[in-house]
Symmetry: C2
Subunit: 327 residues, 2 copies
């Protein structure tokens, strides 16, 4: 196909199989793209289902991501949800909205980005559709499987709070992108989240985590989901937060804001009962990423408090993530 | 919540469970909306996966569908894909893009439309997300299950061609909508497709259909998928086509154009081996809709021909659906 063919000449082209070769990653796919539905042989494990959309002008600006980067990122953020249940990804379907400026080469690059991440994680894109749209959007539904999912509601008072990787770096990347910067480690971190599939699966299999979530909206916001679902409180040791290297050049309050509220981290936030801490230490080398103890669950009811440098502050209720009361 | 609250005040609100109550239609849903993924207990049947998006300004104009009608239609078109495999729907996730003009009541109505259809068909909406967008879009991924799916590639020369319901009525409805009409049976037919779940499942269970597809892009276009997948030809008896009552008021060529190429019918197009025709007659009362023999598969290779009133015309290759060569 000519690379500069415009998409408008293709009109509505339905199932992607006419444009893209099928990836044959998995042997349980009985029918891939090209029929009314994909057909997958059932396994004995529980089925996970998650869906997430990235919309141009809402979740990203067009200058921030090439089509290929957009494709990669769209699947990576869905993989993070599978990781946060302790599961493994299996099959995905994609729904693409392509704006008039897209050329066929852009659409192919977008699909290639998705397909590459699928291949890297042992999952299979089994169907999808493409439609014209005023703003680009990528909506992916990803299936996975798990024996014992780790939910948000299992945290108990006294459980220790852990986070994988570092916090605030992707948000720093977004800030740099808004200011016109286009390269650097923080921007790469924003573009290419690292779903913690290995850590999530191991923490679930070993029954280590009592509750788990991925940090997509910012640590405080996502911790709130655990706290509210589990009916506990939480205290965060701010001095223990694993800041990204880039954040050390910022003012303290600024770095704290990014780490607590920045979003787009796609790290795992999970709780571990005290009695399992020794076993967690043995597990560390197998997790594939660093994990840091950043606080603990309390009986305080629904509150989240920050602790550090001798100060303890209760975070305001709704909207608390963008104004830290009294801090 | 105040009905006239604007959505911009809600910002990004992630999982729908904060806005919408969970429907508890199915007992195999271990975790519904409100965690990182939904969790579903596996069954022994094969898993079907389909995804389809409706985008404002592309698939419909905003004046054509109320939010509730848009919600209903979005799930109905996905159900038609499940029906065309001979399966039954089980679980869906929804991805909504809501434009600035939407009020909270509109979003609730959109969701209610989806939820009502889910309830009516025994399926469960287990997750989703909502995002702002310049144009409304609804992207639904629907799962289903089936023992023996009916694919597009099973038709053989001599198999008889059948279609459910009537053809061309939804396309007539679209034409009326474009001309400013807002009510009438054809418009209702466009707004509310009738996925042939009962017929599809029975035709699959009884091993009646050798190939099956739903007619969404127009009879000729979708027949082309069967013909190309199966490596057969096909001849259509144009005088046998089940025209909608509204089409009888149109000129012959006009009605034929709508019936053959109109699209949005969401009827089943399927092939039946001759030796099974007697059994199909016994099955008719249980199908829940009329089915009409409209032609047969031939050995002609890849061609589709029209036959009627003594004339036989070969349809041109690509694009043949909008200019019937020599007719």
């Amino acid at each position: 196909m000519p690379a500069k063919q415009t998409l408008s000449s293709l009109g509505e082209f339905g199932f992607l199989h006419r444009l893209f070769p099928r990836l044959r990653t998995r042997s349980d796919v009985l029918v891939g793209p090209g029929d009314d539905c994909a057909v997958v042989r059932r396994s004995r494990r529980n089925l996970l289902i998650t869906t997430d959309a990235l919309v141009e002008g809402v979740h990203f600006e067009r200058e921030w991501l090439t089509p290929r980067q957009l494709g990669r990122r769209s699947l990576l953020v869905n993989l993070s949800d599978i990781a946060a249940m302790g599961g493994g990804p299996t099959h995905g379907v994609i729904s693409l909205g392509v704006p008039p400026r897209y050329r066929l080469a852009d659409l192919v690059a977008l699909h290639d980005g998705i397909a590459a991440v699928a291949r890297e994680t042992g999952s299979d894109i089994v169907g999808g559709n493409v439609t014209r749209a005023r703003q680009a959007f990528v909506s992916i539904t990803l299936l996975g499987e798990v024996d014992r999912p780790v939910l948000r509601n299992g945290a108990r008072a006294g459980d220790q709070l852990f986070v994988s990787g570092v916090l605030g770096e992707a948000a720093l990347g977004v800030r740099q992108l808004r200011r016109g910067k286009r390269r650097g480690p923080a921007i790469t971190r924003y573009r290419e989240p690292q779903p913690r599939l290995q850590a999530g699966a191991l923490l679930a299999q070993e029954r280590m985590a009592s509750a788990m979530i991925d940090v997509s909206d910012g640590l405080l916001q996502d911790l709130r989901h655990i706290v509210e679902s589990s009916g506990v409180g939480a205290v965060i040791d701010v001095d223990a937060l694993p800041h990204a290297p880039g954040l050390k050049q910022l003012r303290d309050a600024d770095a704290l804001q990014l780490a607590l509220c920045g979003g787009d981290d796609y790290e795992l936030l999970f709780t571990v009962p005290r009695r399992k801490l020794a076993r967690l230490e043995k597990l560390r080398p197998k997790l594939g990423c660093q994990v840091t103890r950043i606080g603990e669950c309390t009986k305080d009811g629904r509150g989240i408090r920050l602790r550090g440098a001798g100060r303890a502050v209760r975070i305001a209720g709704e909207g608390g993530w963008d104004h830290l009361v009294g801090w």
